[in-house]
């Protein structure tokens, strides 16, 4: 009897474990509709928007009692993949037009994406500028250790574009996986210079110095935002998009160093 009971217990446990593992997304959905008045808005946003959007989310919650805004920050292309693979999201804010296009092409966007901010590259150098970098042309110096984003990620594509516009050949010691990794290498002094977004350099003020350069005008990154076709909270999603595009949204973005479109 005891043996049979333990078999049943293990079977039940295993099934429960499997169900818990597989049913994650379903649980999320039922959790949303099941609450009485409590709603959750899920926003997928590019990592560079972390500080600004967290703040905007808090403000949005303030004007919508009972609403919880949940963020998933990450690399835009990874987020785009998650959305096209069916992750339950209401709003997508990407750091590049191409990543938004993959989502739109898959038929997952409701309406037209709107560009809400722009970001340009600056040269980030460690505090005190040990490599004596003043302009983009200095990066081509043979002795300088330069890190760039890999061409596959948006900041790398922008860097390539800016360098091509300036007709410069820069040999980086590393092609990093994202802009924060470039910033880390510069911050620790491993690299003498790197190309990062103005907002990243601004967020690391005191540890790195940002140097503006005119060629950055040739490689400006656009940030599009859209509510999603399969949004569990489609009305709120549209409202959040409008909020980001509104005056308070613009103010928060420009404070972080973004340019208005």
């Amino acid at each position: 009897m005891l043996r049979r009971a333990s078999v049943a217990a293990v079977a039940a446990l295993s099934l429960a474990a499997l169900a818990a593992g597989c049913g994650d997304t379903k649980d999320d959905k039922s959790g949303k509709s099941g609450g009485s008045g409590d709603k959750t808005l899920t926003v997928f946003a590019a990592a560079s928007l972390t500080e600004t959007f967290t703040r905007l989310g808090k403000d949005f919650e303030g004007t919508h009692p009972g609403l919880k805004v949940r963020f998933n920050f990450g690399g835009s292309s990874a987020l785009a993949q998650q959305i096209t693979q069916g992750a339950p999201a209401d709003v997508f804010a990407a750091a590049s037009g191409t990543t938004m296009k993959t989502v739109a092409d898959a038929g997952d966007v409701s309406g037209q994406p709107t560009v809400f901010a722009k970001n340009r590259l600056v040269i980030a150098v460690p505090k005190g500028d040990p490599g004596k970098v003043h302009a983009l042309a200095d990066l081509a110096g043979a002795k300088l250790k330069v890190v760039l984003c890999a061409e596959q990620v948006p900041c790398g594509a922008a860097a390539k574009q800016a360098l091509a516009a300036a007709r410069l050949t820069v040999k980086p010691v590393s092609q990093e996986q994202d802009v924060k990794a470039v910033l880390t290498k510069v911050r620790l002094g491993e690299a003498d210079a790197g190309l990062v977004y103005r907002t990243d350099a601004k967020a690391a003020t005191g540890q790195v110095e940002g140097i503006e350069f005119p060629e950055s005008a040739k490689a400006i990154n656009s940030y599009p935002i859209a509510s999603l076709a399969k949004a569990p909270q489609s009305a709120l999603a549209k409202e959040f998009v409008q909020y980001v595009l509104s005056q308070p949204g613009k103010a928060a973005l420009s404070e972080a160093g973004f340019e208005s479109p």
Binding site: R3, Q81, V173, S174, Q175, Q177, T184, L188, E190
Partner: protein
């Protein structure tokens, strides 16, 4: 030897008696575990773009990354053996105050997120690091952004696997053989070389295999400490990650290559060793 063989035979008989129908209470979770581990692999195989595998593999960058991965993981395993086996012996055989603390410290890289490990390595061995600054000034050696940096990052992350495995084997081994050798006049080094190490050989092998596999798949510490540059520091996991950004199909192909090569090497090794035993 006869003693050992007799013991092994007796253990075999005991195992026969324990055999019979495997109890469901063990089989069910075992099967769930197996399915859980194997299913993602099946997912990769099902989604792989088989039609274009050939052309994708022909790209020089892929072969370069694969070669770099195999070479650096193998050197890292060599370093782990060179330093890890003596360290495991120290922990298992030499009682000293604070041995528990040291044992816990050895396993730190296991619990540390690899990216944090990479940052820690930068803080110590980087150009402005505690040791790195001196290395740079005295010898002109800088480790970040070099293949040596890749090897170091992999060694850091993989060594605990070897140490734990070897230490376990040493603790499980019967110390009476070592004592017998010592009473017959063998010095400590001779005892280690002729008695301890051969007895712990299966544990050392298992540890080395774990260590190599971990080093081969290493991503976080490598990209943080050594960066990513094709041919110099871009190993397969790094190539897979970046391929995922633009071309998920290519990422699947790269993962399968890494998987196939590592499984082939592990199977070949296992056959060689069990054949010899």
């Amino acid at each position: 030897m006869t003693v050992l063989r007799g013991r092994r035979a007796r253990r075999g008989e005991a195992a026969d008696r324990v055999r019979g129908r495997p109890p469901l209470v063990l089989m069910l979770p075992a099967l769930v575990g197996l399915v859980f581990l194997v299913l993602p692999l099946a997912g990769l195989l099902v989604r792989a773009p088989w039609g274009t595998v050939g052309t994708r593999l022909g790209q020089p960058q892929v072969l370069e990354a694969l070669r770099l991965s195999l070479v650096s993981a193998t050197i890292a395993t060599g370093l782990c053996l060179l330093f890890g086996v003596p360290l495991a012996w120290l922990l298992a055989r030499v009682p000293f105050p604070g041995v528990r603390l040291v044992r816990a410290l050895v396993t730190v890289p296991l619990v540390l997120p690899p990216v944090v490990g990479g940052v820690a390595l930068l803080l110590v061995l980087g150009r402005r690091g505690l040791v790195g600054e001196w290395l740079d000034r005295a010898f002109g050696i800088t480790l970040p952004f070099t293949t040596s940096g890749v090897v170091l990052a992999e060694t850091f992350v993989a060594m605990p696997f070897l140490v734990i495995s070897v230490e376990g084997a040493l603790r499980a081994a019967d110390t009476r053989f070592e004592e017998a050798a010592a009473t017959l006049g063998a010095g400590r080094w001779t005892v280690f070389r002729r008695v301890t190490l051969p007895m712990a050989a299966p544990g050392v092998l298992a540890g080395a295999v774990l260590c190599w596999s971990r080093a081969l798949g290493e991503f976080g510490a490598t990209i943080t400490f050594a960066g990513n540059f094709p041919g110099r520091t871009q190993t397969m996991p790094l190539a897979v990650y970046l391929a995922l950004e633009t071309d998920p199909q290519a990422a699947i192909v790269l993962s399968l290559v890494l998987l196939a090569v590592s499984v082939a090497v592990l199977v070949a090794l296992r056959d060689r060793w069990t054949g010899a035993a």
